[in-house]
Symmetry: C2
DNA sequence: CCCGTTCCCGGGAACGGTCTCGAAAAATAT
DNA sequence: ATATTTTTCGAGACCGTTCCCGGGAACGGG
């Protein structure tokens, strides 16, 4: 079955030359006679020679592989980002090794360790929502392995970052709700040690303040997305003495589920309560009413972070780069309280 | 920055012993004095020694890595399957290298090649919808690399397979529509060289025949899912001389989009036309009306195929295994024409 | 006291390439 | 013809492990 594959030594023996010469021919170096080179290449093709990547890896002390650590693949945002990463990596001839932290710090740490020990050339990370420390990234620096954060970045670490304008877009989204007439806007804010969540919440608060609306803690839900908790949050919000007339959800799934529950309770969207999502999933267009959301350019973020990482791999002394990818507010029916706007 | 990492040779030199002895101590073999072993391990810990995976890989001619090739990560079915795969691989101490074919045969072939040449220990594949041949899998057999197909299997190849009961569930789904009173059921069938599509279509046809309904080619749409084509299909179906009163969609996204279009045209679901999806995405519960669908146990499929692959890796002479994972029909409002059933 | 085991350990080949160095051969200059 | 440069190639170290083999010490039995 698994018969010995042909090595450089075999070729050398067959042609009665040294393996150095064979290596030269095959790796396309110049100091070799065209004729011998031709002969070698021909035999190599004939015998279907393929270089042993493992040997090359050992010799070069690198693997031509970049590691990617994301919270989870089922999250479409990350799934799409992975698409962008793989596209760029493919074009650069690099392999991609993906692992998921499943939103767990320990898993993230273990994945990182296993990547370091399998000598990836660089690592792309979007940290788990549990991760509120940064010591597990230190080994990367010790070994000189380039690191780029994307979306869920870790501010403690002086590494390249690719992120969206979370603050600005949260501000814009909140202000949009205000313009539509919302006075009491609730927000699902996510865990506050996460860079993205923190900035979004800041944007939300500043938008309220700028418009002279009170910032009330009772309207702020500090929690990550979890399908089975939405019902609980909905009940909580509805039963407040002054229930909100607008909700800025943490993502579209939460928003859609929230809408579903609110509708069941007889609330009209957006008249009684406007709902704004996040991520602009395809589904937004198909739910009833169609869901306003924030377009998060995930594919581009993945591609950009891969590009930056590859730069770091190629030129080891580059300064960390911080790249901003702009988000966009997509207005649909779930937040259109003002009829005039529907004409647009 | 990237200072030399400590090797076995360093430890040997520092302790004035041979590297063979150090290797013995660290790899936990028995023929070594407990005292020296202790000394070595202590120094190793102190100097933060980590074995060089690359050297081990070369020596062992394996990488402790399994390769996974899927059509695309944004497809939730595959994203979830990857979850199952990684879970099992983690527990077995194996790394996972994922790449996407993006539904392209050439990409699939290239990915396969790059995995073979980076010496993965085994490969898990769900073929692209373009793939209607199997020659690109031959190198795996030549090199003795175990291969397991899941979901989108390739029948030409005598390898282990994990699949769902596509025929049976399509039969059941179709019959469910018939029971609900549908007489003219359209189906989105997918490309017929795909094992899954072919079997689903067979199930659909047999269900019609068993219930003495005609099988009409005009009701069969041979196409893969693509958001921008759904509108076209919808128009086509509505404008048929005898438009269908039931649609069996290729997946939930297609179904939801289809529903959206049908509703816009003033059709009532399920009264005028029932819609059945596939995959049972979360969204099914939140659209209006809620979408009946087929639960496809993707996580389990991933886990099962990884288990089988690992078996093959550990015991190289195992016979191919074919494992069936059962799907389940989930009935919701989009297909409930008979009011009595709503009570259940 | 000798000899066969057992226990520990060191030497060194091997994995399959790359790369440096120097030498032989060929080409060119003097 | 000789000196010099250039071209082409071979020998062998090296990357960091594993592992086979053999040798010496300790140990026990005779």
């Amino acid at each position: 079955m698994d018969k010995k594959s042909v090595t450089i030594k075999d070729l050398a023996r067959l042609l009665n030359i040294s393996k150095s010469t064979v290596s030269r021919a095959l790796s396309g170096r110049s100091d070799i006679h065209p004729e011998t080179k031709e002969k070698i290449i021909q035999l190599a093709n004939q015998l279907n020679y393929e270089p042993n990547t493992l040997a090359i890896n050992l010799k070069q002390q690198k693997t031509n592989t970049i590691g990617v650590i994301i919270p989870e693949t089922v999250n479409r945002f990350f799934a799409r980002a992975v698409g962008g990463i793989q596209k760029v990596a493919d074009m650069a001839g690099l392999n991609v090794m993906i692992s998921q932290s499943n939103e767990s710090y320990m898993a993230e740490k273990n994945n990182l360790h296993s990547m370091v020990s399998s000598r990836v050339d660089g690592v792309l990370v979007s940290i788990s929502r549990e991760t509120d420390r940064s010591d597990h990234f230190k080994p990367l620096f010790d070994k000189g392995i380039p690191l780029v954060f994307f979306d869920r970045i870790c501010e403690d670490i002086d590494a390249s970052q690719v992120f969206t304008d979370n603050y600005e877009i949260a501000f814009e989204g909140t202000e949009h709700l205000i313009v539509q007439g919302c006075k009491r806007i609730a927000v699902m804010a996510g865990p506050q040690h996460l860079y993205t969540s923190r900035n979004r919440l800041r944007g939300y608060k500043d938008a309220l303040r700028k418009n002279n609306l009170p910032v009330l803690e009772s309207y702020i839900i500090h929690s990550h997305y979890s399908s089975d908790k939405i019902e609980e949050y909905a009940r909580y919000l509805i039963n407040l003495p002054h229930p909100p007339d607008g909700i800025f959800a943490i993502n579209d799934y939460a928003a859609i589920e929230m809408m579903h529950i609110l509708k069941k309770r007889g609330l009209r969207i957006p008249q009684d309560i406007a709902v704004l999502g996040f991520n602009n999933e395809n589904m937004c267009r198909f739910v009833e009413p169609s869901l306003s959301s924030i377009e998060h350019p995930s594919y581009e973020m993945g591609a950009a972070s891969a590009e930056i990482l590859i730069n770091h791999i190629r030129h080891h002394d580059l300064k960390p780069e911080k790249r901003l990818i702009k988000s966009k507010l997509i207005v649909r029916d779930s937040t259109r309280k003002i009829p005039e706007l529907q004409v647009l």
